[in-house]
């Protein structure tokens, strides 16, 4: 076991992990931040996407120890003062979620997408969200949500 320390949602945290412990396991099991989900075991589904030092990252693809010293944001860290992030609000406004399981990863990916492509067209949104699988929505309303958020909510 080794000690790992990082900043998660603005709070300094540390914990004991095995070398094989994944970042998503550290978030869910050590910190009880269960909003980040695990939907596969091949880094395909994107349910576990968080932000690491400002970039979206599949947290099942990274060892907890690799995040030593990093600044991590999870779905729980988006809302400020009880107000949802514009992307969260856009997902609700456009019915961009159904069962909610892929949603945290989808929202984190979408925020990164808009940060890097401020005016994405539909094709760009669809291509950029290729790493997040949703079984419920058919993506139609997710695309609309990202478009709304990109236009400033």
């Amino acid at each position: 076991m080794a000690t790992v320390s990082m900043t998660v949602n603005g709070q300094a945290v540390s914990g004991e992990v095995e070398g094989r412990t994944l970042l998503v396991q550290f978030l869910r099991e050590n910190l009880n931040l269960t909003g980040t989900h695990v939907g596969c075991d091949t880094s395909q589904c994107g349910a576990c996407v968080v932000h690491v030092d400002g970039d979206s990252m599949k947290s099942c693809t990274m060892l907890a120890l690799e995040a030593e010293g990093a600044d991590v944001t999870t779905i729980e860290g988006l809302a400020k003062g009880g107000e949802m992030h514009p992307m969260q609000k856009a997902f609700q406004d456009n019915h961009g979620l159904q069962c909610g399981f892929c949603t945290p990863g989808m929202v984190m990916s979408a925020i990164d997408l808009v940060a890097k492509n401020p005016n994405p067209d539909e094709a760009t949104i669809r291509e950029q969200l290729e790493g997040n699988i949703c079984r419920c929505t058919g993506y139609h309303n997710i695309v609309k949500a990202v478009q709304q958020a990109a236009k400033g909510g």
């Binding site: 095995e18 989900h37 075991d41 159904q98 909610g100 094709a123 669809r126 929505t137 695309v143």
Partner: protein, 784 residues
């Protein structure tokens, strides 16, 4: 008009927790003292288990217990059950081979559970599982739907000679033979309905917990129907009596059918929690899910149509085999028979239909209900056969449909295959869909595409489904082992808020919002003051759960019926308080009023009076809390017309859906925003089946080839278009709310719409799903 009642596209109540990471899914639950179980599964498709040595695993660090199938049998735990008894040819009921929770003698598919290793941590359980030594003798395996009943095929169960679980027939063979003898032309298509892995995004999970003080077991589980889980595990598996057994299905991350069934791992968690007197948790890896979740579809069929000189359908003949997998799961044989055969009339007046369906056992994961369940198979087969018939007759696909549709004024319409449709206007749906998709302008678009080197095609799908599952007596007479009513409890709190308990359960459908709208509509209580509770056998009275698009058509009616009981009692209380006759009390928009006066009492005041009955009518019980059970009088029959338009690049085989138009008849829409989302998701499922998804087992080894998201192609955002969705509602005779159900329609309608568009683009008779770029490229090259 009540604000936020039926018809309002109210934003969802449940979204706040899902969007902020506060959802509560089964794997989010951890109990004090919890252990973890990992399942050792067969790596072979078919093998005799000669011996198992667990001694090294038991001695490994952190291991608490290691169990095999005999340990459960010794504790009188029963095996997994099949709830269907379908009567086939010669009056013979399906043969149901026994299935132990952990198999002992033989492994029958890759992933068949054999040993459960329980340890302090999941990593320790996995490490110890590596030390379990199992001596197998590999046996030849059979995975083929078409050939597993052949002479000499490897045999799975001695109970099922030739691997046949059921030989079923439906309809009038002699009448169909006569129709073919008299036919002007006949059409024939051989097709495969590809096996799907349901793949809800939340993997299955379970946490069992035992309270030795009360001798009660609690099971947290990914379930679409927690009361049914409890019933099955009590009545047939002897886990615990129902009154000592609580099943909690918290937020469920998608199900699509796969979370209806009681699974091995869930029974292990519940049983072992008592055995070791500590909580036991299991969460499926996605790879385990691919191996061990119930799969869907997997038919091979030959379908033929007899036509007269005008293109009218005279008779239809279908010969099919359905793959059941290695064991019969909960609904199993009822899906390719009752839920498939009864829909083969589709929207047409075909007077004679005959189906033979053989249910075969194979060395693959069990196959059961998956979004649509039998109805997508029926619709795909029929709508492909209709297009092949149009091709044979030289008729436009829209025209041949029009000539054969049941007319709106023929409703109710008794089909030759059991179902009696109670509503629908198929001409109107098709006309609307053709108009919205500019069907008449297609040839110009096709010519324009040709100029760019693209092959453009258009395809139709006129589908019907039977939802609102289901009238208990009807399904009981057919061999389904349960009643399929639904229940609701509507409870006013003294301060005027309402708690609604429903026996259905949401796995993404937004019941907390839509069901609250029903109560707001009926009782006039602001929607913010209505809370819907589901998914916990200790909270809700009883229920049959969510599948078969039944939650609103059956469960929703139970809710409004309970509301009506509230109103009836409220009238007595209001009449007493307002010093009027009960007959003079009118109720509307939340107020009880003495007719023709301004004397009125809000329902919240009535509720308070019911709980503080100081001045109260004689003979009326205190409290305002009513239960209703609703058993539907008939299935509901959602239907519609979908149009798909595609462009194929013949040089690369890549395909783009350039237009998808869906016109559906769901009756009344309670929350149109949610309904449209259900349509979108269903379409993605159906388009996924048509273009991308296919579960593949290797014919020689029986190995699961498509065992991960890297091998099994799920539809992603860039595989799909945006959809054009609209409605063409009619009024169902049998549903008091006028609703029909909407969750499965897209998955049923889309596959034939897409394939019909593809064969139109390529000018070929047929192409099997999934129509991958490779298949399209080969077909385009061959078509030249």
């Amino acid at each position: 008009m009540v604000e936020n009642g039926i018809g309002a596209s109210l934003k969802r109540k449940e979204d706040n927790r899902f969007l902020t990471g506060k959802g509560n899914y089964t794997d989010d639950i951890n109990r004090p003292g919890q252990t973890h179980v990992y399942i050792v599964r067969s790596p072979h498709a078919h093998a005799t288990i000669n011996s198992v040595d667990i001694s090294a695993a038991k001695a490994a660090p952190g291991v608490v217990a290691v169990y095999g199938g005999q340990d459960l049998i010794d504790d009188a735990v029963g095996g997994l059950v099949c709830g269907a008894s379908v009567t086939g040819k010669g009056g013979e009921v399906n043969k149901t081979p026994p299935r132990n929770v952990l198999t002992i003698d033989k492994a029958r598919f890759v992933g068949d559970p054999i040993i459960a290793v329980i340890a302090e941590t999941l990593a320790q359980a996995k490490d110890a599982a590596e030390l379990v030594e199992i001596d197998y003798t590999e046996l030849p395996s059979t995975v083929s739907t078409a050939n597993s009943d052949a002479d000499g095929a490897p045999q799975l169960h001695e109970e099922c000679p030739n691997n046949v679980a059921l030989d079923w027939e439906l309809g009038d063979k002699a009448a169909v033979d006569a129709a073919f003898a008299a036919a002007h032309k006949t059409a024939k298509v051989e097709l495969i309905n590809n096996r799907m892995v349901t793949n809800a995004m939340e993997p299955r999970a379970a946490v069992g917990e035992y309270n030795s003080g009360t001798d009660e077991i609690t099971l947290y589980v990914t379930s679409q129907n927690p009361h049914v889980h409890r019933l099955v595990m009590s009545a047939f598996m002897n886990i615990a009596p129902e009154h000592k057994f609580r099943v909690v299905a918290p937020d469920v991350g998608g199900g699509f059918g796969s979370k209806i069934f009681t699974y091995n791992e869930e029974a292990i968690c519940a049983w072992a929690a008592k055995k070791i007197n500590r909580p036991v948790k299991w969460t499926s890896d996605r790879s385990e899910g691919f191996m061990s979740d119930a799969h869907g579809r997997d038919h091979v069929s030959t379908a033929e149509m007899a036509l007269d000189a005008d293109g009218k359908f005279l008779g239809m003949r279908v010969n099919s085999k359905g793959n059941m997998g290695a064991y019969l799961q909960l609904f199993s044989v009822s899906i390719p028979t009752l839920f498939h055969g009864f829909l083969l009339a589709g929207q047409y007046t075909t007077p004679a239909i005959y189906l033979e369906m053989r249910c075969v056992m194979t060395n693959t994961a069990p196959v059961d209900a998956a979004r649509g369940a039998g109805r997508p198979e029926a619709t795909y087969l029929l709508e492909r056969l209709v297009d092949v018939s149009a091709r044979e007759m030289g008729l436009d696909p829209a025209e041949i449909r029009r000539r054969n549709f049941i007319k709106a004024d023929q409703m109710p319409y008794q089909t030759p295959v059991v179902q009696c449709y109670d509503s629908g206007d198929y001409h109107a749906s098709l006309d609307k869909a053709l108009g919205m998709s500019d069907y008449d302008g297609f040839s110009a678009r096709q010519a324009e595409a040709k100029g760019r080197g693209k092959l453009r095609g258009i395809g139709l799908s006129s589908y019907i489904e039977a939802c609102g599952v289901a009238p208990s007596a009807a399904v009981g007479s057919l061999g389904v082992g349960v009643g399929l009513w639904e229940s609701a409890q509507v409870r006013f709190n003294p301060t005027g808020g309402v708690t609604v308990f429903t026996g259905t359960h949401s796995h993404g459908q937004g019941h907390e919002t839509a069901f609250a709208q029903l109560v707001t509509d009926r009782l006039g209580v602001p929607v913010e003051q209505v809370e819907v509770v589901h998914g916990d056998t200790d909270k809700g009275q009883f229920g049959m759960g969510t599948y078969g698009s039944r939650s609103l058509p059956v469960g929703g009616v139970a809710i409004v019926n309970a509301c009506d009981k509230i109103i009836a009692k409220g009238k007595k209380i209001a009449a007493h308080t307002l010093e009027a006759s009960e007959d003079d009390i009118e109720f509307g928009e939340g107020n009880f009023t003495v007719a023709g006066t301004d004397k009125t009492m809000n329902i919240a005041e009535v509720a308070f009076t019911a709980y503080v009955p100081h001045n109260y009518p004689e003979g009326v019980e205190p409290g305002l809390d009513e239960i209703a059970f609703f058993d539907p009088l008939n299935f509901s029959f959602p239907a519609g017309a979908h149009v798909c338009e595609v462009e194929i690049d013949p040089d690369t085989g890549t395909l783009e859906i350039v237009n998808y138009t869906a016109i559906d008849d769901f009756g009344v829409l309670v929350n149109p925003m949610i309904v449209e989302g259900q349509v979108h998701g269903g379409l993605a499922h159906g388009i996924g089946q048509a273009l991308l998804e296919g579960c593949v087992y290797d014919e020689d080894s029986g190995q699961l080839v498509s065992g991960s998201f890297m091998d099994y192609c799920m539809p992603r955002a860039d595989n799909l278009p945006s959809f054009n969705v609209d409605y063409c509602p009619t009024v169902p005779l049998h549903n008091p709310l006028g609703v029909k159900g909407c969750g499965e329609a897209g998955a049923i309608a889309a596959p034939p719409a897409v394939i019909n568009a593809i064969v139109n683009a390529l000018d070929i008779k047929h192409l099997d799903m999934p129509a991958t770029p490779e298949k399209l490229w080969r077909a385009a090259q061959a078509a030249g």
